[in-house]
Amino acid sequence: MSISLPPATENNSNSLQPTGWLRFISFSLDHKVIGLQYLVCGFIFYLIGGVLAGAIRIELLSPISDFLARDVYNQVLTLHGTIMIFLWIVPVVNGAFGNYLIPFYVGARDMAFPRLNAVAFWMIPPAGLMLITSYFINGAAQSGWTAYPPLSITTPAAGQIVWIVSVLLLGGSSIFGGINFIATILKLRRPGLKLMQLPMYCWAMLGTSILVVLSTPVLAGTLILLSFDIVAHTGFFNPALGGNVIVYQHLFWFYSHPAVYIMVLPAFGLVSEILPVHCRKPLFGYITMVYSIMAIVVLGLVVWAHHMFTSGTPPWMRLFFTIATSFIAVPTGIKFFNWVATLWGGRITLNSAILFSCGFIVNFVLGGITGVALAQVPFDIHVHDTYFVVAHFHYIVYGGSVFVIFSSIYHWYPKFTGKMLDEKLGIIHFVLTFIGFNLCFAPQHWLGLNGMPRRVAEYDPQFTLINQISSVGALLMAISTLPFLWNILYSFIKGEKAGNNPWQALTPEWLTTSPPPVENWSGEAPLVTKPYGYGEKNSDEGSSPITQA
């Protein structure tokens, strides 16, 4: 069915909106503005979360709790986890790049629901501010980002309730975003563009959004019940009142395992966009990539209980979830080999974007291997809730998603701003991050295998040296942010002009000016049926396609 919108809604609202930099702090409906709002907002929270991580690593320099009091340490680690997951990685890999790129990729002038899109973004800053200010007022939540009861019921209630409200807001934002992405990808495609011709990031976002829509509401419901337990003293998750803590864990992980894929599937998509451009080869195995994304979506929904092998899970459950989890290695492995095959024999330009993408591939395969190991019940019971798990998921979310975010910033910054980033600084940033990251988290595998528990401010003195090495790695990571920040700010002012398509890329966002105009293209949207047609005989690679559009 088709409707005639109130005449020129889009034009009217756009002309009423501020122009220039002011639009970045306004309720803008332009998907590109919203994308950059997500990105900058997320990065600010990343810096805050990074400071908290620094506080954790300083505390862990010595085996006693000297830098932070124990309850402060608990607050710091809770805030660190919550901020990094819900305010940095999820909004940035989904909201930032999704909003900026998806309308280009489907050949649309904006997202399907621009107002909903702006609402979804503007739910994030208040939620984040609330979370952070709770630390200064009544003390933040202390029960970790998992908020397991009975811990979350017995720790001070004020901080925990603020945490719940904040996560509910962020979850709502995420659901609105997911609905928008599904509608945009499925319904707003330019006439003539088939699903199987879409760039891989669209598929990744479609899969991610399906996970968001199916699993985030369950978390929301669970947190509402948890807030009843805290405020009204009901007993849903309180064994003392006849409740059941395991039910919370099941419901929580029904969201929070897919949340891992919500953080990492878009990263898979972004890498699949970046690699072909910089090695001048088509993406290897497009169709298998699509099917493996969808396989990860389906499997991702039925593996949650592998987080609960020490929670008294019955044997059949252990068996099922071990097998299902191990199966995820198959589609993920397919993607890994496809990326390697894409690189293989390519004309690789070793710039910061591809370095970070390759860093991602290396880190992610390490994190993936420990993931398969953790799926095995006997091993998992040994290392459950130790630093081995901490190392594992940082390899996935930092070594995976955050490396890809940096790679994407290096890749798309010319499109965002029209300026090139400095390559030398970019490579310094990469080297520092890669060494710092591995120095920080690789030793934690050893710590975990030897029994150092996570989330505790104090530890056995035998672990001191390795913890100090890990903290040195964290320091390097902190330092690595400086050349990056300088690069971003300096290049914005003084960087060399990028032109419309500095990478000679074929995906549609490069077929317009940098930065793009308000409705993306001055004329009609280009029909890009071969987004990865590099190195083909008839492709006029090297000449700028924009001139013919």
Partner: protein, 200 residues
């Protein structure tokens, strides 16, 4: 070459659709209802798990009577039918009929809420008495919130369909259609809830 040169028909097709794109709001609404349904699914899963593994404590009181919720089920099912009638009347551009059926639907929704309140006040247990009592109030309360929102929506739709030049006409049916889909969804959830909570 990946950009296809603009053929005449293509560019015409696009310019004509520049300020008129197909309506995806119903698609968005249905996606949202899937998400909303998953919230209920989580609650149902929790309740069924409790039933399977958490026995009622010996001194706890948890008894439900059937007559009132059965009446509620009938109220909601009838209201789904009357809403459907309202939609049909709007399609036939019969605004008067449409308004009548909308009012009846809203009335049935409000009757449901009143009847639910009566049930709440006559039940022998309170919110925090025991696990099953808490789950009962959480589930029916969350559903009741949906009915409340739905009734308000219907009244707004009725208000806007009232004046002859109002926003909701047989040309602009979307608000009514959206409220109708939402209402059917809420009724469907009630049927599942009724079976799980009262009959099982």
């Amino acid at each position: 070459m990946t950009t296809i040169p603009s053929t005449k028909e293509k560019s015409e097709e696009l310019t004509s659709s520049e300020h008129q794109h197909s309506d995806h709001r119903l698609f968005g609404l249905i996606t949202f209802l899937v998400a909303d349904g998953m919230t209920f699914a989580g609650f149902f899963a929790a309740y069924l798990t409790y039933k399977a593994v958490n026995p009622l404590l010996p001194d706890a009181i948890y008894e439900l009577e059937l007559p009132l919720p059965t009446l509620n089920t009938i109220l909601l099912l009838v209201s789904s039918a009357t809403f459907h009638k309202a939609g049909k009347a709007l399609e036939a551009a019969n605004s008067k009929q449409c308004q009548k059926w909308l009012l009846i639907t809203a009335g049935l929704g409000i009757a449901f809420l009143i009847s639910q309140m009566v049930e709440y006040f006559t039940l022998p247990f309170g919110l925090t008495d025991n696990l099953y009592a808490s789950t009962f109030y959480a589930l029916t309360g969350f559903h009741g919130l949906h009915v409340t929102l739905g009734s308000i929506m219907i009244l707004i739709v009725w208000w806007q369909a009232r004046s002859p030049g109002g926003r909701i006409t047989h040309v602009n049916k979307f608000p009514l259609e959206a409220a109708e889909i939402y209402w059917h969804f809420v009724d469907g959830i009630w049927v599942i809830l009724f079976i799980i909570l009262y009959l099982l």
